[in-house]
Subunit: 326 residues, 2 copies
């Protein structure tokens, strides 16, 4: 299980590799939200999402002999790139199993970083696990899970250490911290970091409509599952259910979840373009959307939100601009 | 005349107000350029461009009694917003004279920050100077020039102090530093900072085709003037000629200028979107365009370039994506 000691150790291991992203703001966004909005832009992280933190943390924590045989990951894109870059930096092989309908940019980037990409047909019911198991057994690879893996959570938690320090610099010691949430790796990692370093900051998961498994799980007290597994532009944060490791952490430390529509995510993307000069992907804009358009569900004079990634194809980005820029 | 002592003093005055922007990179851009590319994204600065540094520096340097009467500026947009925000922070009036054909976003933002915007007809030959003189005399305002003003140059120079420190952290002590160049405020400020803190880094101005007054002036040794004053998407860096104060500094400290096409700027914008998750405006992408597409005119294993601003209307941004994203 991940704890704050592991997060601090991960921070040491990824130091000089992962970027310390800034904490940004715009008076125009404050006005829309009706409170101060502080944005942690992990789209500026290497590979364009926070996932590099967890990938680098997990790969660097492996025993060197085990690591040398290589790693494998299942991912629709951002975790893929994070693991692929970490593997490349250590000079070890990486196999990434990706759905064939993942955003083109994410597939291309993963290949360009040097990973071996194996595509599977998500709609056709092909079992990615069977595919992965066969490759893993054959080559002695180590599986790096996208969120339910202690060293991955520890790596994502380094985002929370930075938020704690940067919020204090900005004079904010009490606020909701909205986190774009799929399986809960980033959310639970940030939650553990804030518990230790900024107990006045309350983490809250944000999910897209129709994929609110974490929000429902926090209400029911049990792990709930989504009915669908695809069909949202927010591909980066679509997971069937919270993880076995991440859920208890979120249950203990998180405030209620927030649920945003796809349109609200696109609107937040257009505002991030205009007001922050940042490129956010739909799922990566979910927390900003909650900060801007769900103010009545948020407490305090300030709100902090992650932009978890920016790996969006140009056509989807233009759709956001066309719909929400005058 | 601006010197390094003034730049360090400006850095102290704007500390906690201006953002220390990061130094970003992408292996994909390195590959295109054939060398390491380090990007200083001033589009992430308050008001979306480096101009806030100079605005805040100049307004904060005024005698309090003089400052209280207010300030006035002529600007097509970025300097306008920089001065307007600085004035707002000091609670003083700001009048901004803008061409009526400036990008809509820039006019709207300047008004939204709280400045009084006076539009003039650039094409019709209306004299903005006569307009400004009348307002200035009547209200006792102080004119904040966009580049040929020592405290503005000192503020822009703080970008150079940061580049010097960040390049050293990145292990780069010898490189060309490409700067998007209009009147030369940013270029000369950075040049003075690098002279003091990183003498192995060589500043070089980058200009759009048809507006290469600084490049030609550096060659001839005299202040040269552009034939046209508008007609490029690179509105942020169109000026008739280098300044009386900035030119001698550039002449003493800068390497040869580089000239890029409008298409190269749009291409660089598309790559900044895809690889850096940043929004650059056409003029703000000029230095990145030079780094990526004029490699044979650059020396060394690494190149540093500014993205000077990101205030671009959605339609121009989409034109860049449509033309250069597959």
């Amino acid at each position: 299980m991940t704890n704050i000691t592991m997060i601090r150790a991960a921070a040491e291991r990824i130091k000089g590799h992962a970027r310390r992203t800034p904490l940004l703001s715009s008076p125009f966004l404050d006005e829309i939200a009706g409170r101060r909005v502080l944005v942690k832009p992990e789209c500026l992280q290497h590979t364009g999402s926070f996932k590099y933190r967890g990938g680098r943390s997990a790969v660097s924590a492996l025993d060197p002999e085990v690591r040398a045989r290589g790693v494998i990951a299942f991912s629709s894109g951002n975790h893929a790139q994070g693991v692929a870059l970490a593997a490349k930096e250590f000079g070890i092989p990486a196999v990434i199993i990706m759905p064939a309908d993942a955003p083109r940019l994410k597939i291309e980037n993963t290949r360009a970083i040097g990973a071996e990409v194996v595509l599977y047909d998500r709609a056709g019911g092909e079992s990615r696990e069977a595919l992965g198991d066969a490759i893993t057994a054959e080559r002695g690879l180590t599986l790096i899970k996208p969120y339910d893996e202690p060293q991955v959570i520890a790596g994502q938690g380094t985002t929370g250490l930075e938020i704690a320090a940067q919020a204090q610099e900005a004079g904010v010691d009490s606020a909701d911290v909205l986190v774009c949430c799929g399986g809960g790796g980033l959310t639970s990692g940030i939650a553990l970091a804030l518990e230790a370093d900024a107990p006045g900051l309350r983490p809250r998961p944000v999910e897209p409509e129709g994929f609110d498994d974490v929000t429902r799980s926090l209400i029911s007290g049990h792990i709930e599952t989504n009915n669908q597994q695809s069909g949202s532009l927010c591909d980066a944060i679509l997971t069937p259910s919270p993880g076995q490791i991440t859920f208890p952490v979120m249950q203990r430390l998180c405030g209620p979840g927030l649920v945003v529509t796809e349109d609200e995510c696109l609107h937040a993307m257009a505002l991030a373009f205009q007001r922050l000069k940042l490129v956010a992907e739909p799922g990566g804009a979910a927390a900003l959307a909650a900060a801007l358009f769900h103010g009545d569900e948020i407490e305090g004079n300030a709100v902090i939100c992650t932009i978890s990634g920016g790996n969006v194809d140009a056509d989807v980005f233009q759709m956001a601009l066309n719909r929400f820029e005058g």
